[in-house]
Symmetry: C2
Amino acid sequence: MEYGVKMPRQPKFSRDDVLDAARDAVFEHWRSATVSHVTSRLGAPSGSIYHRFASREALFVTAWIRSVRRFQQALTTIVEIPDPTEAIVETALHIPRFCRQHRKDARMMTLYRHADLLTTAPPELREELAGLNTPVATAIAALTRRRYGRVTNHGLAVMRLACRDSPYGIVRPIIGEAIPAWIDDAVRATTGALAGLPDHT
Amino acid sequence: MEYGVKMPRQPKFSRDDVLDAARDAVFEHWRSATVSHVTSRLGAPSGSIYHRFASREALFVTAWIRSVRRFQQALTTIVEIPDPTEAIVETALHIPRFCRQHRKDARMMTLYRHADLLTTAPPELREELAGLNTPVATAIAALTRRRYGRVTNHGLAVMRLACRDSPYGIVRPIIGEAIPAWIDDAVRATTGALAGLPDHT
DNA sequence: TCCATTCTAGAGAAGGCATTCTAGATGACG
DNA sequence: CGTCATCTAGAATGCCTTCTCTAGAATGGA
């Protein structure tokens, strides 16, 4: 607490409360979620939203970023699994598992694509978005090196498919619903097959 | 030309012209495509749109249906490929190939999910939407029977993954852009692996 | 030529939504 | 108890979009 800084009034709604409400509104209305959906869930006036976030877009993008970070949290430990092939498969399996345990965050993550946000998001969030992908990129690069003994562009592309795009494609149609256990078998099969590809064309 | 029917004025904009403009607007603006994006591309006033389509939603959903039908056109011949495994893999490969040759239609198809439209689309289109999936369902069922010798629910689910969800997941991040040739190798690998799974848990 | 039909044309009504603005409440601190 | 920073509160504003409505043009038959 700094000298001379008056202690402000206690917030009735925390920043996370607002983001939770945004996430819940998206879970229910997806792309047509409005600011008033958020305020009515929160029981707050629109002023409380705009006091913290510059715009509707800033609110939803911030909530999206929070969900992405939650997804990334487990990655670093998974990548350290001793056996390379197991590390690859477990990275891929993290996707259906996360979707099972964090249904709302998972659905929130489907709202935007990272590449699109880099150019369309509110300027004040661009910098954060630019660095957002590094944990995943680092993990993929580490897995690529461990799998092939070197890192080529094609090797990286294959590993992205194996650990990210392919498992995501498998769960995508049912994100937000229950994910059956056998989906994990399907992920094991596809990721195993992709990890078997060579790192050159 | 029926008796007593007066010949009307020639349309300046055909139905397909309007749908093309809608598809192009979606290619550029995706979900935020508006009716005025469409009219300005077409060089037409909004009246010409609303003369043919009941609402903005009816226009875009109709364009979506047209793209889906174009995708389905090649399916029936592919399924008839003699070797079952080859038929399965070629069905899956139809997805990256279609995305390569019909970039705008492919992107248009990402605008809605069939399951959502069944409940949210304008009522006059519901019936058409209800029957839209049958060509794909028929193809998947045929492939399931040929692969396993019988049709179980789990077998169908695996085959949907192999022929549709998995390859779609692989191309999805790059739909609208150029699809590299090696993507087909990845699809072959994953679809082959999934088709190798048994039809029971 | 006149008429019925089908279309283009575009101004503007209507509605929904994000956003702003002003007032007031709250709490820490001197 | 007064002051200040921070927050709640929600009515009011203004924008943007969809959609309607009226006028008029093109076409071919009677």
